[in-house]
């Protein structure tokens, strides 16, 4: 029972972290119809910038400045890169962001090298918040949860309750009409792209110390983020939230409970073959859930795409 509670908290942290990335990505998608492959790269840039700033000014200034820098870079990418490629169609846009992701990874390796950066949790938050039956929960995890929840509420408030949010929502559905009403739609697009990447930057700043700041961090998280928004339904903010939490919990639970495939197969009445060593299916029999935890999201995505192509909460059919 206690272990379940600990896992719920761990999964919540992972899920909310994923949500910070997928929220921006899904907003950008519903606006421009393009999946930004470089989204996780901005997350990585956030972590690296925050590390560099924290060397000089400390963690908190990093948390403040790094997302701003990342957001400005994101807006620049939209203004000078994506807008140019947009005229060629969607596939070149997708390829452009893919190339950008490769380029940013190379750039990070170029500047900071291939090793992991010593970017650590700040001293103030480096203590145990509370413990559940001997399992200590670090304060930093609680801090991560608070930051993500605050961002989610803020985002929801801005999008649904403010004038700016109304204009953004209108620009999502009827960009031409909104433009005819005198709003600068390209500027709104650029702004949303900037804010989306800045959110990814925040995620990078707070995830860097726990998940490690290294050149592969974008790649590790990047494809999971796509999986998340595809499962949630492209363009749906609520879908992104639900799918993020779902994936966070599924992977956490699969990792901490050691379920073996042989037990499951035995459970449904298939008997383990006697000469397991010589059997060509021996690897399937010996699979355990921690082994496949990282590919569970992909299996889930393929299943969702086959049976419900628009995703859990998606309305539009792309």
């Amino acid at each position: 029972m206690e272990l379940i509670l600990v896992n719920i908290i761990d999964g919540l942290v992972t899920g909310l972290l994923l949500f910070m990335l997928s929220a921006g990505l899904t907003l950008i998608f519903s606006m421009m119809g393009v999946l930004n492959f470089a989204h996780a790269s901005f997350y990585m840039l956030g972590a690296y910038f925050a590390y560099q700033i924290s060397l000089a000014l400390g963690f908190w200034m990093g948390l403040l400045i790094a997302p701003l820098v990342v957001g400005v870079m994101g807006a620049g990418v939209e203004r000078y890169g994506l807008r140019r490629v947009h005229q060629y169609g969607h596939v070149p846009e997708l390829i452009f962001t893919f190339g950008l992701a490769l380029l940013i990874e190379e750039l990070v390796q170029f500047i900071w090298g291939k090793n992991q950066m010593p970017y650590d949790i700040p001293e103030v938050l480096n203590f145990t918040a509370f413990s559940i039956a001997g399992n200590s929960i670090p304060a930093y995890k609680i801090f991560m949860i608070f930051i993500s929840v605050a961002i989610f509420i803020g985002l929801l408030y801005i999008l649904t309750r403010t004038r700016v949010g109304m204009i953004i929502q209108a620009a999502l559905s009827y960009p031409r009409t909104v433009e005819a009403l005198g709003h600068n739609v390209p500027l709104i697009f650029m702004g949303v792209f900037g804010v989306g990447t800045a959110l990814a930057g925040v995620a990078g700043v707070i995830a860097g110390p726990v998940l490690g700041t290294f050149p592969g961090m974008a790649f590790v998280l990047g494809s999971i983020v796509f999986v998340t928004i595809v499962i949630g339904g492209l363009g749906s903010l609520w879908g992104a939230l639900v799918a993020s939490l779902l994936i966070g919990w599924i992977t956490t639970f699969a990792k901490s409970y050691n379920l073996a495939m042989s037990d499951i197969l035995n459970g449904i009445g298939i008997v383990t073959p006697s000469d397991l060593e010589g059997n060509i299916f021996r690897d399937i029999w010996s699979v355990t859930s921690p082994q496949i935890a990282d590919i569970l999201p992909y299996i889930l995505m393929v299943l969702i795409l086959i049976f419900r192509p628009q995703g859990l909460f998606g309305k539009r059919h792309s």
Partner: protein
Amino acid sequence: MSQTDLPDPARPKEQITTDPSRASERLRAGGLTLTIGPWVIAAVLLAILPSIFTSNAALTIMNQMWITVVFALAYNMLLGQGGMLSFGHAVYAGVGGFACMHIMNASDFFASFPLPVLPIFGGLFGMGLALIVGSFSTRNAGTVFAMISLGVGELIAACSVIIVAFFGGEEGISGDRTYAMPFFGNEFLQQIDVYYLTSFWVLVSAVLMYLWSRTPVGRMANAVRDNPERAEFLGYSARWVRFFSFVASGFFAGIAGGLFAINYEILTEENLNTASSGVILLVTFLGGVGLFFRPIIGAIVFTLVQTVLSLQTELWAFYAGTLFVATVMFFPGGLAGLMMMHVPVFKLGKARLLILPYLKTLLPAAIGTLALCALVEMTFHVRHAASGDHEMTLFWTTFDSHTALPWIVAIAIAVVGLGIARMTAPALRDAWNEANTAGGAA
């Protein structure tokens, strides 16, 4: 450029009717005719290249190149001909390759047929996997297809560490190609023998893929790419057209995988993962999607960049990435598209007009870019070289990277070179417009 769009009295209008007695127009009608010329030239080139570049390293590079050509052409069947963007195509080549490795290791069976037949098995396995995946992934093109391909790609790449029996886990699977039945007494011990085997398969697969693009289903793939709704109204199922393209592409990707297995005699997880899939996307797009032959140029350029540049600098991937992003942004037709842009100029007989402006703009631009690369290399050296190691060699000059002089020189060359290019660019644009306009003094 807009002048070229105007109706041009000097050029006859594009003929609408087709005359089947002329080879070029039979092609337009979708007939299965092959213009022999280019293929003969390609075959002769393939045959004589090893006599020009005799070293073993050159043979290895060329083998790598031809394998990439087959793979890029197969990939272009999806991206270029069918409009399907796949982020996991390495999987089909990889699985084909792994299957070939297993056949190589099944000694009794392997000894019963000659080695040149092996890639067919790779193709069949690639096709088999494509049949399974394609049955659900080709329902949609566009983003959904791209996402499924990514998901399936990641899934199979991740399986390589779990299903050890087939993928061999971390260390992969290795074999020995010489156990095959001797082919006219040849056991493929030498690199040159493998080269001719690869060349043969490149030619055969390229011809087959070209013919495929000429069949009705190949033509329909283009129609479905451009306007699936309209194709459906004409009575074709967009889904099945995509499915056939996908399966055929899987077959040829598998052949590329089989050739890889024969060449390197080892396959690992690296042949399956997203990075390899990304590389083939990069290669295809660099050459240019759309027209059939374009990815060949991409494959050749990329392999050269990869093998030659990576000997010179650690940063080759950075340059390749920059080249790729620049291509997507400025030349969506790819390198081949850039070349094709000059065809009208040559047809008008005005290519001479462009030589001088090109020299004036591109030469300084190239020098300026090289100076930029030098700056990048120097920065890299200062940041990452072992401490105390201040000497570096760049463009055949050895200097101390921690002194100001080389930096000043490089910055000066970059500024001057790019500055001249910027100044002469308007003249080039004028010359380009002039060269593309019919009539006037040539």
